[in-house]
């Protein structure tokens, strides 16, 4: 393992110290818990937005704490859910009396800890709702959607919900829009090189020199199919077929596209991928309203990428276009 770290057991805390020092104008840490909150929270008249999960996904999750995005993030260890206590404190920190929406990926650890935290907050009399993101087509067949993992769909949701909350929506309205966003979003990933969790010291999986794996999860969970490396166009074609048929996306639809690097794939390659995505969508008469190409939700230094599509309606278009400003996500 070659990494620029000091102590494998301290990577999250030391990363957080650096992050807070660099972005102290926007974010701060709760004094008693590993929770990153937007400075000035809670915001009067606005539903609080909480997310959280394991670390190792920069810029997710904490890079999205900001204006027009989320208000608080409970920070777990690498690839491991934060505790119920952390999530509970995040909820309390951003509640202005208008309620709190928790947004999480579909992982059993996150679900149990959020469940417990939400129970505790409701016991205190707070209004709290949860939505669970499950956009990864590669992680389970369509008839088992409830088993699908949440990946870049979480980023799309934070953007949409952040804009909606800023408009002053109620908790009920916000939840409805959040669920619509999740319902309209599909992702699929591929990897050719694994990542190494610092404390484990060994890669989470191994692939042959000339092999790639379709459907690998954001924590190195094994995918659905291994095969010899293919070109950018062929790989993109495979992923897009799965994504398009799953919703399904149809001629005349308008979408946003996210081509996301998993940590060790350069922008150069991501744009080559996007080139093909754009061509396929054009040929399918699907209009790209906005494209995001870059690193939005990584998996440490994994080599690979994911493609995410969200079908838009008038409301989602307005919300996705709203400006946002966070340490690692700025949209004018």
């Amino acid at each position: 393992m070659k990494k620029f770290i000091n102590d494998p057991n301290k990577v999250v805390d030391e990363m957080l110290e650096g992050f807070l020092a660099a972005h102290s104008d926007v974010v701060e840490k709760l004094p008693t818990s590993r929770v990153v909150v937007r400075k000035g929270a809670p915001f009067k008249g606005k539903v609080g937005l909480v997310t959280g999960g394991g670390s190792g996904h920069k810029p997710a999750f904490i890079g999205y704490v900001g204006d027009g995005l989320v208000d608080a993030v409970a920070v777990g260890d690498i690839f491991s859910s934060p505790s119920a206590q952390q999530i509970y404190e995040a909820i309390k920190a951003v509640d202005s009396g208008k309620g709190v929406l928790c947004m999480l990926g579909n992982y059993s650890g996150d679900i149990m800890n959020f469940d417990m935290a939400v129970e505790m907050a409701r016991d205190d009399g707070l209004k709290v709702e949860q939505v669970i993101v499950n956009d990864d087509v590669g992680s389970a067949p369509k008839d088992k959607m409830e088993n699908r993992r949440g990946v870049v769909g979480e980023v799309i949701l934070w953007k949409v919900a952040g804009a909606k909350a800023k408009e002053g929506a109620s908790l009920e309205e916000l939840k409805e829009t959040a669920e619509k966003t999740i319902f309209n979003t599909r992702s699929m990933g591929v990897a050719h090189t694994p990542c190494t969790v610092p404390t484990a010291g060994e890669p989470t999986f191994t692939l042959g020199e000339n092999e790639m794996e379709i459907g690998v999860g954001h924590h190195g969970e094994p995918g659905v199919k291994r095969m010899p490396m293919k070109s950018a166009d062929e790989t993109t074609q495979m992923l897009m077929e799965k994504i398009l048929e799953d919703l399904p996306f149809k001629s005349g639809d308008e979408v946003i596209v996210n081509v996301n690097g998993l940590g060790a794939t350069p922008l150069l390659e991501l744009y080559i991928v996007y080139r093909k995505v754009h061509e396929i969508l054009k040929d399918s008469n699907i209009k790209v309203h906005r494209a995001y190409v870059g690193e939005y939700f990584t998996s440490l230094e994994m080599g690979g990428f994911s493609i995410t599509l969200t079908k838009l309606d008038k409301e989602l278009k307005r919300l996705i276009d709203a400006p946002a400003r966070a340490p690692l996500f700025v949209q004018m």
């Binding site: 260890d77 690839f79 206590q85 059993s108 800890n113 484990a200 989470t204 999986f205 999860g217």
Partner: protein, 212 residues
């Protein structure tokens, strides 16, 4: 060995669990790699290390101790292990509140509550390739030992053996819970890491009790 377990023995057996999980850290990480994300040993060991401050406890009440253990795991340990073991220990603690020592009858009640806690929190059933596949046969074995009037020593030995058998049974099962459930058939042939760590917890407690 006597027919009752004292408060200090319970405390000692919990300390033994911490040592055992630390010792098995790498092995559990390796078990987790083919069907998970390779961090189970680290996660479960870190979760139980959070219990260290509780061992200074002076109040001699097994129920209170176990409830504190549960609360600490549930609230501050995170990951999936925190809420699952947390709920299990809290439930087990509730049925022996006020007790300074416990007999086989108490242990059966605790074990049943422990199992129910896991089922409730994880919404899992036996046979889905989880820690429950270790816990359930262990609980059944304790119940059987009680009905057959076995000594506490024999009951503990049998329970450990059945827990081991249960853990090994997960090798032939297909995962239906948690992260590994997405792999379906590919999980067959691998022991479930959660079932394995659960066995090591039982093994550490039993070995400590038998030797103390």
């Amino acid at each position: 060995m006597q027919d009752k377990i004292s408060f200090s023995q319970v405390l000692g057996s919990l300390k033994a669990v911490l040592g055992k999980l630390e010792e098995k850290r790498k092995e559990l990480d390796r078990l987790d790699s083919p069907i998970g994300d390779g961090d189970h040993g680290r996660t479960i060991s870190n979760a139980f290390q959070k219990l260290t401050p509780l061992f200074e406890s002076s109040e001699e009440d097994i129920g209170v101790l176990l409830k504190k253990v549960g609360r600490t795991l549930a609230l501050s340990a995170g990951a999936a292990a925190g809420p699952l073991y947390g709920t299990a220990f809290m439930e087990a603690g509730k049925v022996v509140e006020g007790k300074k020592e416990i007999d086989l009858g108490d242990m059966v009640k605790m074990a049943q509550a422990f199992e129910e806690g896991i089922k409730r929190r994880g919404k899992a059933e036996v046979g889905e390739k989880t820690m429950l596949d270790t816990v359930h046969p262990a609980v059944e074995s304790l119940k059987k030992s009680l009905s057959e009037n076995l000594s506490l020593e024999d009951a503990l030995k049998n329970m450990k053996e059945e827990a081991k058998r249960g853990m090994e049974s997960t090798k032939d099962l297909i995962s239906q819970r948690g992260r590994s459930s997405r792999l379906g058939e590919r999980t067959r042939g691998h022991i479930d890491p959660g079932a394995a760590s659960c066995y090591y917890i039982i093994e550490a407690m039993v070995d400590f009790l038998l030797s103390s």
